[in-house]
């Protein structure tokens, strides 16, 4: 069966990656860098982790394409809202 084939991504490996990224974030957050650089780096790592969870633990990677298109559909709305309102406080 299709599903069985992919049933077990390397859960433990992903877990290790998540932990390493978390540690990396912790270290990076206390570096003496400009705020923007910090923020961008941290958000990058956080998103990376989030994507890992969605892809492997939530099995999005093994789902039909139509499901993951559905899954990301609200994200543009979130971005539009936040960006537009931020422009309020240039």
């Amino acid at each position: 069966m299709e599903e069985q084939e992919h049933a077990h991504p390397r859960y433990i490996l992903i877990w290790v990656i998540l932990l390493v990224l978390t540690l990396a974030e912790l270290g990076y957050a206390f570096l003496d860098l400009p705020k923007v650089v910090l923020a961008v780096g941290l958000v990058f790592m956080a998103v990376w982790k989030a994507v890992m969870v969605a892809m492997y633990y939530m099995h999005l990677r093994y789902e039909p394409a139509r499901l993951w298109i559905l899954a990301i559909s609200p994200l543009p709305l979130a971005v539009i809202l936040v960006l537009a309102v931020m422009s309020e406080f240039r």
Binding site: Q4, L19, E25, F30, L42, V53, Y57, A71, P74
Partner: protein, 218 residues
């Protein structure tokens, strides 16, 4: 096309999304959760952008070490959750029960630690209320660093509080699934319930990953 061909036509519904209803339903529900957290996180981002002076430097007010531990817990609970699912996919009911129990315990400790954190923080004057915000900071080494303002407290509790509520609801649902698993409800070909609650659980974990970064680290 002849009448005969029509008569033997397969009466199966359209393939649709090619996932079963409950799973699709959960995904659709999670999309609405995305929007819910968008409103909270968006509020945070916007208020912080508008009033940076209300935020303290990293680690000055919030206990990053403790929360890092909690983050670790939640990530672990995601692993135990997928393990539980993997077990029942192979028909291993004992494995399912064990991993579920582990998930429940870790999830509950997350909530416990969060409650402890809240008590400690409110004790230090880090509260959401406008009138009584007077964060003292931890260890406060420097001379006069900013300890933030009430928006810091308010957005903090709004985001982490609603996340905590989601974890608690998740734990309750997991307990339900656990009881069902003890009764032997789930088998190698019937484990929709486990997968669906797993999706919810991982989503909550995913939200925490984002929250931890933007609330505690940035």
């Amino acid at each position: 096309m002849s009448q005969g061909a029509v008569a033997t036509m397969d009466r199966k519904p359209m393939p649709g999304m090619m996932v079963y209803n409950k799973k699709l339903g959960m995904w659709v529900f999670l999309l609405s959760e995305v929007m819910f957290f968008t409103s909270l996180i968006g509020t945070y981002v916007i208020l912080r952008f508008a009033h940076p002076d209300h935020w303290a430097d990293v680690g000055l007010v919030l206990n990053v070490q403790l929360t890092a531990l909690n983050t670790f817990f939640l990530i672990c609970s995601s692993v135990t959750m997928v393990k539980a699912f993997a077990a029942i996919q192979e028909g291993n009911q004992k494995g399912l029960q064990m991993w579920l129990l582990a998930t429940i315990l870790i999830g509950a400790s997350f909530v416990g630690i969060q409650v402890y954190e809240y008590m400690a923080l409110t004790g230090e004057g880090f509260v959401p209320m406008l009138d009584s915000y007077h964060a003292v900071g931890r260890g406060n080494p420097h001379e006069g660093p900013s300890l933030g303002g009430p928006l810091y407290g308010a957005t903090f509790y709004a985001m982490t509080g609603f996340h905590g509520a989601h974890v608690s609801i998740g734990v309750l649902c997991l307990i339900f699934v656990y009881v069902q698993s003890l009764r032997g409800v789930y088998t190698a070909d019937n484990h929709e319930g486990v997968e669906v609650i797993g999706l919810y659980w991982h989503f909550v974990d995913l939200v925490w990953i984002l929250l931890f970064t933007i609330v505690y680290l940035i």
